[in-house]
């Protein structure tokens, strides 16, 4: 006998009939009727009309019937809130039933009835059930607290259920502990500020003990909860890791992934020199590989996470390439993910094997997979230089197959290979040109056109090829149009005599017949350039292109760190932070990896970091005369050091003029008609137009117009220490030149003459670029201001502190010594803006222990203000991202000695109570970080 018969009643008066049956005196008939009701509910019929009749059946000693009625209640109580009250009495009574199964059932169901009026009645029974003698009831009651909290949070807090729930973490029964942890985590997730979980070493220890005893699901709740904890030091992190690693041998993949999450997170705190760190790395690989034998959906989750893990810690899986080889019967989503990881793991050591596989995949039938495989070959070429040649020849083989989409995909990647290795593989261009006609996808057409334009001088019929594209210009996509415009201009600049007509044609197509502003503007710019200054045009259009970076599709470092904290969850599958797909700010806590606060290493905490040295305190670093003399007496104080005096700021002024004039003419005359292109070639030999090159200087230097921040002058050498000579000064940086602005005051009674200055060797090789020129003798009480140009070609010696500068000044009276600290930002050079990709790659490349974190307190600026202020001191914003209302600025700067410093600055705009900025600095020479931080602070606070 099966239940399917209950589905068959489809008579017209069904509801009426059921009503009669529900009210029958016969128990058996009643139960049959309830089953029919539930069957109707299951197939989606509305049986809410029977509410009172069904509720009447609730009082029964038949467990099965009771469960069915409860189920009905859960489904319809919300639509009949008033009548749902009728059920309360039975619930309360059932919560006192001698049978724990009934007690648990009642408390479980009551929590699922999301009717406000009922919740108040739930409190007393729930309170009892939380203290029930039977663990089955307690574990059910624990979950019920979370349910109730979801309906009425205030009620739960007022009734003190949260404290009871916290007590259950110490329950003797592991399942109760696990459910209490799950319930608390759930509540904490929606109330990030509540500090509900209050994790401390004691409670962590309890959780770790329960971990060994509870079910697989309980283990997951506990591990996920542990992952939110931040150990106080590396020892604690290690001891937790040691107790979590056995979970890697659990048969349930979800337990394994949650354990991996905890380990990946806490590993961040361990020093790489620890033996244990290496042991842990080795322990992580095998379970990750085994996840690939799980069910396909779990494989997919595992692969998406492995993708993150490989980016964060490539060393874990670097020897496991083979397990990511694609199998014929893998689902397509698994295949594509495996391919992605193969590329990430590709290295010189395994490239031959990878290529052989990729070639195999490129001849399969699944179009998406094949395309991705072809693209992967290109990425390998770019990533592993030694393999580039083999990759190119593989791609050529694939082009020979003439399979349309393979050819197109191959051309797109070959373009990238040209960008990475210019002038190396151009011999293949002929083969590519043969396939011109078969290209029908915009990306492939654009790539091919780019190749033709870029190498126009080597392709005999480049003009014909481009002309053939021009015929259907208006039908092309924007991508192709833009590329065609540029390519023809390039061709014209390379072969001006034969292609005038062509260039004129494309310029007029782009500017006069197109509605696309991008295209039109680019057309105008080219036209204008060509007509005013072809040499400059050449400089611009045929400029050397920056090489493309090796790794593509890297996830931003902060996002990556955040995603590591979300291993196993939807965020790790989407590769997006939860805030991107979970509604509302509520319920989402921004997570980040714990900072490396190992007890053995001392990263300076923001509190102990000295604030930017205020003027006056410099005196502290003046060494005793004796020390200094040793170094300085050797110096030749006579003639100034060599080195050309640096250019003045006239360039800058010129640029400003140009900006005004240039823009006026561009904006003011949108319909200008360029001189006929035919006259252009005549100008080709003209000398380089200085105006335009200045214009381009300007674009990179806009921010420097105002110059770097200059501190007010401070007294460096008090008169009493220098026989009446008082020196105060400051450092400035403007358009690339550093100078020391000095103010010399004669407080003695005699005239001072014959001034000279000399620096001791210092960390960055700062040295005077010209002699100290005090033109007239300095009479008593007279003050003179001098700007002394500096360069950084002097001899280098590491100083302590790093930015210490020891100076000797001589005059007709004596030689005086003083030392001062220069602000590091005078060393930030103008071309310190890193390319985005480069930034990502570099950030990842610099080891984490080089990262230093600082806090800039009380800085009420928004991101734009911060960014522009920093830019005027040559700290460049590479990218900006908004995460949960906070702006993250990614910035780069370069020191005069070529050291790059990468920064991540977190700004919380519009929040008056959070005016602190958080600064993370990464640099290969971590000792500069402290000084860079001081520079930030100085610039932002003044």
């Amino acid at each position: 006998m099966t239940d399917s018969k209950y589905f068959t009643t489809t008579k017209k008066g069904e509801i009426f009939e059921l009503k009669a049956e529900l009210n029958s005196d016969k128990k058996e008939k009643k139960k049959e009727a309830v089953k029919k009701v539930i069957a109707s509910m299951t197939v989606g019929k509305d049986v809410s009309a029977l509410f009172p009749d069904v509720v009447n059946c609730m009082q029964t000693d038949n467990l099965e019937l009771k469960k069915l009625v409860y189920l009905y209640l859960m489904n319809y109580a919300k639509s009949q809130p008033d009548m749902a009250i009728m059920a309360v009495n039975t619930f309360v009574k059932d919560c006192e039933d001698p049978n724990p199964l009934i007690r648990a059932l009642a408390v479980r169901t009551m929590g699922c009835i999301r009717v406000d009026k009922i919740t108040e009645y739930l409190c007393e029974p729930l309170r009892k059930c939380l203290k029930d003698e039977d663990p089955y009831v307690r574990k059910t009651a624990a979950v019920c607290v979370a349910k109730l909290h979801d309906i009425n949070a205030q009620l739960v807090e007022d009734q003190g259920f949260l404290d009871t729930l916290k007590d259950l973490i110490s329950d003797s029964n592991p399942m109760v502990v696990a459910n209490a942890v799950a319930a608390l985590s759930e509540i904490a997730e929606s109330h990030p500020s509540s500090n509900l979980l209050d994790l401390n070493p004691q409670s962590i220890n309890k959780l770790l003990t329960a971990l060994n005893e509870c079910t697989e699901w309980g283990q997951i709740f506990i591990l996920d909860c542990l992952a939110n904890y931040t150990p106080k030091d590396d020892r604690e992190a290690q001891s937790i890791c040691e107790r979590v690693t056995p979970r890697l041998s659990h048969a349930n993949s979800a337990v394994v992934l949650s354990a991996v999450k905890v380990l990946m997170k806490f590993m961040e705190m361990l020093s790489k020199d620890l033996d244990y760190y290496g042991t842990l790395l080795k322990k992580l690989a095998p379970p990750l590989v085994t996840l690939l034998s799980a069910e396909p959906e779990l494989q997919y989750v595992a692969l998406r996470n492995i993708n993150l893990i490989v980016q964060k810690r490539p060393e874990i899986l670097k020897h496991e390439m083979k397990v990511f080889f694609v199998k014929y019967n893998d689902p397509i989503y698994v295949k594509l993910e495996k391919l992605d990881i193969m590329i990430r793991l590709a290295s010189q050591a395994n490239i031959a094997q990878v290529l052989a596989e990729l070639k195999e995949y490129a001849t399969e039938v699944d179009v998406d997979f094949v395309r991705k495989a072809v693209r992967a070959i290109g990425r390998c070429a770019i990533k592993v230089e030694q393999s580039a040649e083999r990759c190119v020849s593989t791609l050529l083989d694939l082009i020979q197959t003439k399979v349309n989409y393979v050819v197109q995909e191959a051309i797109v990647v070959i373009k990238d290979i040209f960008r990475k290795y210019p002038n190396k593989y151009e011999s293949v261009i002929a083969t590519l040109c043969e396939n011109l006609d078969s290209l029908d996808e915009p990306e492939a057409r654009a790539a091919m056109i780019w190749i033709v334009g870029e190498y126009a001088e080597r392709i005999d019929n480049a003009d014909e090829l481009l002309e053939s594209f021009l015929e259907g210009f208006h039908d092309e996509s924007t991508q192709v149009q833009l590329q065609l415009l540029t390519a023809i201009v390039k061709l014209f600049l390379k072969k001006p005599t034969e292609t005038q007509e062509l260039v004129q044609q494309v310029l007029s197509l782009a500017t006069q017949d197109s509605d696309n502003p991008d295209l039109r503007d680019r057309g105008y710019i080219y036209w204008r350039l060509l007509s005013t200054d072809p040499v400059a045009a050449k400089e611009v259009v045929l400029a050397e292109k920056p090489l493309i970076s090796e790794e593509t599709d890297l996830i931003e470092p902060t996002l990556l760190d955040e995603l590591i904290c979300y291993i196993g969850t939807l965020a790790s599958v989407y590769h997006k932070p939860p805030s991107a797909f979970v509604e509302g700010g509520r319920g989402v806590v921004h997570k980040s990896l714990p900072p490396r606060t190992a007890s053995s290493e001392s990263t300076e905490s923001p509190e102990t970091a000295p604030a930017g040295a205020p003027p006056g305190e410099q005196l502290d670093v003046i060494p005793t005369q004796g020390d200094l003399l040793g170094d300085l007496l050797n110096l030749d104080l006579g003639p100034p050091v060599s080195g050309p005096p640096l250019a003045t700021s006239s360039v800058q002024m010129g640029a400003v003029d140009l900006l005004g004039g240039g823009l006026d003419s561009l904006i003011g005359a949108p319909n200008f008609v360029a001189p006929p292109a035919a006259t252009v070639p005549a100008n080709l030999g003209a000398p380089m137009g200085s105006g335009l090159s200045d214009l381009f200087d300007l674009t990179s230097g806009v921010g420097t117009l105002s110059g770097s921040y200059v501190a007010p002058k401070a007294v460096w050498l008090p008169a009493m220490k220098a026989k009446g000579l008082e020196i105060s000064g400051t450092f400035t940086r403007q358009v690339g030149s550093i100078s020391m602005d000095l103010q010399l005051t004669n407080k003695a009674l005699q005239v001072m003459t014959d001034f000279a200055i000399q620096f001791n060797r210092n960390s960055f090789g700062l040295a005077p670029a010209a002699p100290l020129q005090v033109h007239a003798p300095l009479s008593p009480n007279q003050t003179v201001e001098i700007s002394l140009p500096l360069n950084t070609v002097g001899s280098v010696m590491k100083m302590e502190p790093l930015n210490n500068l020891q100076v000797a000044v001589k005059n007709n009276i004596d030689v005086f010594y003083f030392s001062t600290l220069y602000p590091l930002h005078i060393l930030f050079v103008e071309d310190g803006k890193m390319d985005r990709q480069m930034f990502l790659a570099t950030w990842k490349d610099i080891p984490n222990e080089n990262e230093a974190q600082f806090q800039i307190r009380d800085c009420p600026l928004n991101a734009e203000a911060v960014s522009s202020r920093l830019q005027s001191s040559n700290i460049f914003t590479v990218a900006k991202r908004n995460v949960e209302g906070q702006d993250m600025l990614y910035q780069s700067l370069k020191l005069t000695n070529g050291i790059w410093v990468l920064a991540e600055l977190r700004v919380q705009p519009g929040n008056p109570s959070f005016t602190d900025l958080e600064l993370s600095l990464k640099c290969r020479a971590p000792e500069v970080s402290q000084h860079v931080y001081q520079a930030y602070e100085t610039i932002l606070k003044n």
Partner: protein, 423 residues
């Protein structure tokens, strides 16, 4: 944390049964699931995780059913998928076959099970043996007074009930090794791994403590017996009954087993072994006329061993017709619905080499779509033999009543994912 609701849908996407656990996602959202799935499939971008608006669908397909969990939160995806598979396992153990019909036939008990498997999105008791102690198909016979929660549900040992009795106490141990192999078209081995499982069939009274001894290399090195023949297990996974921290400490496999059948552990070795059955094939396609296939199979294992039920499946074009075969041993059969020829050999002794030739006609008008190149697949079973050389050294069984119990061990090696690519 995990699922808000769980649905079982038929192949067309119609809900057969569902359970709303959290009430934060409208149950009608499921209507978007099937159209979304079909759209993504068409785009070639189908993944096990789909989203519509702010609702996320995590789904698996089991025979003709879809099991779908919905959530609004950043749920633990791996937990949800494991839970869905566990649900399938529980239902299958209850109803033998999980299919549309069995769901309709047992909807009452499915509701009961769904209520017990998960609460507010937290998976609870998912062990079908324990569930069967208090949720039975004869539910209507149970009166409230009699039905109790077995203490096992919340015990630390949540997989075995007390008071089990057998007249004869026995344990059957099956050591099964599956060989996964991937060979490329020019005959070089790309991937070769052994995935072993140890399955137990336990007929023991009381609450016995078991200890399993294997010739595990790490253990031998720890105990200074490194001279003996041992096996290096690369990764080991255990049933939840095994004390993991104990294993982590001293490699002891100790546990209180569930009653009846279960998988105690699985392990993986990536040591390269000689492929047990080696295939050389020549598939010559003469367009518009015929395909000629020659397959040579060689048993590369000990002469004393015999591979049973060997099945070699060789791909043929989908438009092939009029098959003709010639085999030196066994029989060949054309299976047009799978586009393969299956060559079956009942018993294949080690060291032997056999040959099969097949001939197919091809239509003169070729069909347009390109076909993939499926690999040759091989299935086999070699009893009394493990490729890795793993051995059960002992199984100690201690129960406080002090009975004597006998362990029985059986070894078998079989094909896993065994693929040889064709050119």
């Amino acid at each position: 944390m995990s699922a808000s609701a769980v649905f079982i849908l038929d192949v067309k996407g119609k809900p057969l049964i569902s359970r709303n656990y959290k009430g934060d996602v409208a149950m009608s959202e499921i209507e978007h699931f099937m159209p979304l799935l079909m759209q993504r499939e068409e785009e070639g971008a189908l993944t096990p995780l789909l989203s519509h608006g702010r609702v996320h669908f995590l789904w698996i397909k089991y025979s003709n059913l879809y099991l779908v969990a919905t959530t609004l939160k950043n749920a633990n995806a791996s937990l949800v998928y494991s839970f869905l598979y566990k649900t399938v396992e529980v239902f299958s153990e209850y109803f033998k076959e999980l299919e549309e019909e069995s769901i309709r036939d047992n909807f009452v008990i499915i509701y009961e099970l769904l209520d017990e498997l998960m609460d507010f999105g937290f998976p609870q008791t998912t062990d079908s043996k324990i569930l069967q102690e208090y949720i039975t198909q004869q539910g209507n016979k149970l009166e409230t007074g009699k039905s109790r929660v077995p203490p096992t549900v919340t015990n630390a040992v949540s997989w075995r009930s007390e008071g089990i009795k057998y007249k004869k106490n026995e344990v059957f141990i099956d050591v099964i090794e599956s060989v996964n192999l991937l060979v490329n078209a020019n005959g070089s081995v790309l991937l070769s791994e052994i995935v072993g499982t140890i399955k137990l069939k336990v007929f023991l009274s009381g609450m016995p403590e078991l200890r399993l001894g294997l010739n595990d290399r790490v253990l031998f090195e720890l105990t200074g017996r490194s001279k003996n023949k041992s096996v290096e297990l690369e990764d080991v996974k255990f049933h939840q009954c095994v004390r993991l921290s104990r294993f982590d400490n001293d490699r002891t496999i100790s546990f209180i087993p569930p009653d009846g059948d279960f998988e105690l552990m699985s392990y993986r070795l990536s040591t390269q072994v000689k492929p047990l059955i080696w295939i050389e094939s020549v598939i010559e396609k003469f367009s518009h006329s015929r395909v000629e296939i020659m397959v040579k199979a060689k048993g590369q294992f000990k002469k004393q061993s015999v591979a049973n039920s060997v099945e070699i499946s060789v791909p043929v074009p989908s438009d092939a017709d009029s098959p003709r075969f010639k085999t030196s041993v066994g029989s060949a059969k054309y299976v047009p619905e799978k586009n393969v020829v299956i060559w079956s050999i009942k018993s294949f002794p080690g060291g032997k080499e056999y040959l099969m030739r097949a001939h197919f006609g091809l239509p003169s008008v070729e069909k347009e779509e390109v076909e993939g190149r499926p690999p040759i697949g091989v299935k086999f079973e070699i009893p009394y033999f493990t490729v890795s050389g793993i051995q059960v050294r002992y199984m100690k069984i201690i129960e406080k009543s002090g009975y004597q119990a006998l362990p029985w061990v059986r070894y078998i090696t079989q094909s896993g994912d065994y693929q040889l690519r064709t050119s």
